[in-house]
């Protein structure tokens, strides 16, 4: 497979744009802070983006849409979309957004302001916002893209799977470019939902550490523009070379104990790209910092890849951004591929004694030809993406 990335952007608690994220990674500066999310008394750390708070969108108002808009205002992503609309027409460009919360933050707010009869107040009567497709509806509206727009909601694998769908749409010829993205915002549902499952840490997360005790939640928006190679006069020299999608068939909120689905998705991505495991130089792991995920994922990596493959989880920079994690971490892997700086697994002091893989807290320099990113979600929903250097 050869699908090119022509532009991308990332907005997280670590940095508002990809240039800032590059610096935050190089300097190992985290965007995590003690929980100060309104109305949430939980003792934990979160990756909140305060700049989202003041964005007003009228009938489209929600925290999730506000973050989607903030993300689209960073870097060159919107001007790239505008030039593609001029070149191909707006109906020949697609949108595929991934999200786990869509705009449920707005529904939560609406429910805390119901009128005396228990009904939605007029300002919250927003059918286009209170539904799972809200992210793509809003992004199509905001960008002027008029081609097919679909939302993928597979929990924490959502915005990894957008690349697979985008690639299929391009290969089928129904569009000439696809804006893929992911957006998820902090809200009470995820903070208190993950707390109900006893998965939230009271301290900054420590993925793969012997003493890790849970996740930190975060919010993020990420975008990439995908095209067929024959249509790109200039691109970034990076291609999506393969993807894997699988199911654990095990449990709604616990990973398969042997990582069966995760193994399948990684193997499929290797097979589709034709890249042998030993050629993968860096893997951005799902690495949530939960006891179960990191043990199972870490053991699998130790079994499937040689010690020359370096790995890390970057969740200590911005937290687990759920439906936006797939694209956020794919873009971090792509940055490593382009710039030869592999992020460390920040906050790692002592590797889990059951694990044997090449991972360190420090960033490492090195030339890379192929990188991977793993995303695993509730429902046992797995996606792996493999990116390679491509001739420009």
């Amino acid at each position: 497979m050869d699908i090119r990335l022509v532009d991308y952007e990332s907005t997280t608690a670590a940095a508002l744009d990809i240039i800032g994220l590059r610096k935050a990674i190089a300097n190992q500066t985290s965007g995590l802070r003690p929980n100060d999310f309104p109305r949430s008394p939980l003792k934990t750390w979160i990756g909140r983006i305060p700049e989202v708070d003041d964005i007003q969108l009228g009938e489209w108002q929600s925290r999730n849409n506000a973050l989607a808009a903030l993300g689209l205002e960073q870097g060159t992503i919107k001007s790239t979309i505008d030039s593609l609309i001029k070149r191909f027409s707006a109906t020949r460009i697609g949108v595929v957004m991934g999200s786990s919360t869509s705009s449920i933050d707005r529904t939560e707010t609406a429910y805390s302001h119901l009128d005396s009869e228990g009904r939605l107040k007029p300002e919250y009567r927003q059918p286009q916002v209170h539904n799972p497709h809200a992210p793509s509806l809003f992004v199509a509206h905001y960008t002027g893209i008029k081609g097919p727009a679909l939302t993928i909601n597979t929990a924490c694998s959502s915005s990894a799977k957008v690349f697979a769908t985008g690639a299929r749409w391009l290969n089928s010829g129904i569009v000439d470019a696809v804006l893929v993205g992911g957006v998820d915002t902090l809200c009470l549902s995820v903070l208190h939902g993950f707390d109900s499952l006893q998965l939230v840490s009271t301290e900054p997360c420590k993925p793969f550490d012997q003493h890790r005790d849970g996740i930190n939640l975060g919010e993020a928006a990420g975008y990439a523009i995908l095209m067929r190679p024959e249509d790109t006069a200039t691109d970034l020299g990076v291609k999506l070379a393969g993807y894997g999608e699988s199911s654990d068939a095990y449990h709604m909120s616990h990973p398969h104990p042997d990582g069966l689905g995760a193994r399948l998705s990684m193997q499929q991505a290797l097979d589709m790209s034709g890249v042998p495991a030993e050629m993968v130089g860096y893997i951005n792991l799902h690495g949530t910092s939960s006891r179960a995920n990191d043990l199972i994922e870490g053991q699998l990596i130790g079994n499937m890849f040689p010690r020359s493959t370096r790995c890390s989880s970057t969740k200590a920079w911005m937290g687990h951004t759920l439906g936006a994690a797939g694209i956020t971490e794919s873009l971090i892997a792509v940055e490593a591929l382009r710039r030869g700086l592999m992020p460390g697994s920040m906050n790692l002091d002592q590797l889990d004694e059951h694990l044997d893989l090449t991972i360190s807290a420090e960033n490492i320099q090195g030339d890379l030809a192929h990188v991977m990113s793993n995303s695993f979600g509730f429902g046992g929903n797995n996606c792996t993406l493999l990116f390679s250097k491509a001739e420009q």
């Binding site: 949430s40 805390s112 010829g173």
Partner: protein, 286 residues
């Protein structure tokens, strides 16, 4: 780089249609749904209730008790479709869609989160993910294939048909599609007024010798689609009971009924469904 003439003509894509499953207010199988579609004056079957919903046998009993109505709707029709095609569910990539999602669980969560304690049930929280149906289906059947869960609001049917047909063609794999929506919670009814349960499943396969044995009642039926750069509206149904008409209007997943008419030769030989405000999906049967 200049545009090529190839791109100005919409490319079509097609798949074989293999089998169906259906469950809703007034019908509990594909055959009962067909009767409603084809026979004038057919009456809705008594005894089905949207509040209770189906009890799909494929979900283990202890899990079934905890599974929400939308999940049971989706799993029931998915199971019917795989049984009708005599296909092992483990062999099927799947795509699940709900236009409004599980608004009863949204209602539960938002009400609890509006209280001081904010103590959510962990089971209800993990069931609240949009891919709960895909999760329960793959867990119940042992399916390790790709399972997608998508959303397209009012145009969920057209967008999901397009997505699944392209995946079928590109990956050369048979695919289970399931469209399902349950009654909307009281608070959200003011903005999304669906009061009916409806679920429909369909298995499609690529036109490939590997899948030559897969047929719809011993016939090869091909569904062909193309993306059209024009707006359109959902077509009126031709010949149905008025209760089904209400369901078609208000339940995003029930819009598959227009495709059911097409597949059964009721009305026009082709259909155009909206995909957002500016694009449409043109469908025809060969």
């Amino acid at each position: 780089m200049s545009k090529t003439s190839l791109k100005t003509e919409p490319k079509s894509f097609s798949c074989k249609v293999i089998s169906f499953g259906a469950w809703g207010d007034g019908f509990e199988s594909w055959n009962e749904l067909v009767e409603l579609i084809e026979k004038k004056g057919a009456t809705l079957k008594e005894g089905t209730s949207s509040s209770k919903g189906p009890k799909p046998e494929v979900i283990p009993a202890n899990e079934r008790r905890r599974s929400p109505l939308p999940v049971r709707l989706a799993v029931e029709t998915s199971w019917q479709a795989t049984q009708a095609a005599n296909i092992d569910p483990k062999e099927l990539t799947c795509v699940f869609v709900s236009g409004f999602g599980d608004t009863q669980l949204t209602d539960y969560m938002c009400k609890v989160l509006a209280t001081e304690s904010k103590e959510l049930s962990p089971t209800k929280f993990h069931n609240s993910v949009h891919n709960a149906a895909a999760g329960y289906w793959t867990i119940s059947t042992g399916c390790e294939k790709a399972a997608n869960s998508v959303a397209g609001f009012q145009d969920s049917v057209s967008l999901t048909l397009m997505e699944a047909m392209i995946q079928c063609q590109q990956e050369k794999k048979p695919i289970l599609l399931t469209f399902f929506d349950a009654p909307v919670s009281t608070v959200l009814t003011d903005i999304m007024g669906n009061g009916s349960s409806f679920s429909f499943s369909m298995i499609i396969a690529p036109d490939d010798t590997l899948y030559a044995g897969l047929k719809l009642n011993d016939k090869e039926v091909f569904l062909t689609a193309k993306v059209i750069a024009e707006s359109s509206c959902w077509p009126d149904l031709v010949n149905v009971h008025s209760d089904i008409e209400d369901c078609y209007t208000n339940n995003p997943s029930a819009r598959i009924l227009s495709l059911v008419e097409l597949l059964r030769g009721v009305g026009d030989k082709s259909r155009t469904f909206p995909m957002g405000q500016h694009s449409s999906l043109g469908l025809s049967i060969v």
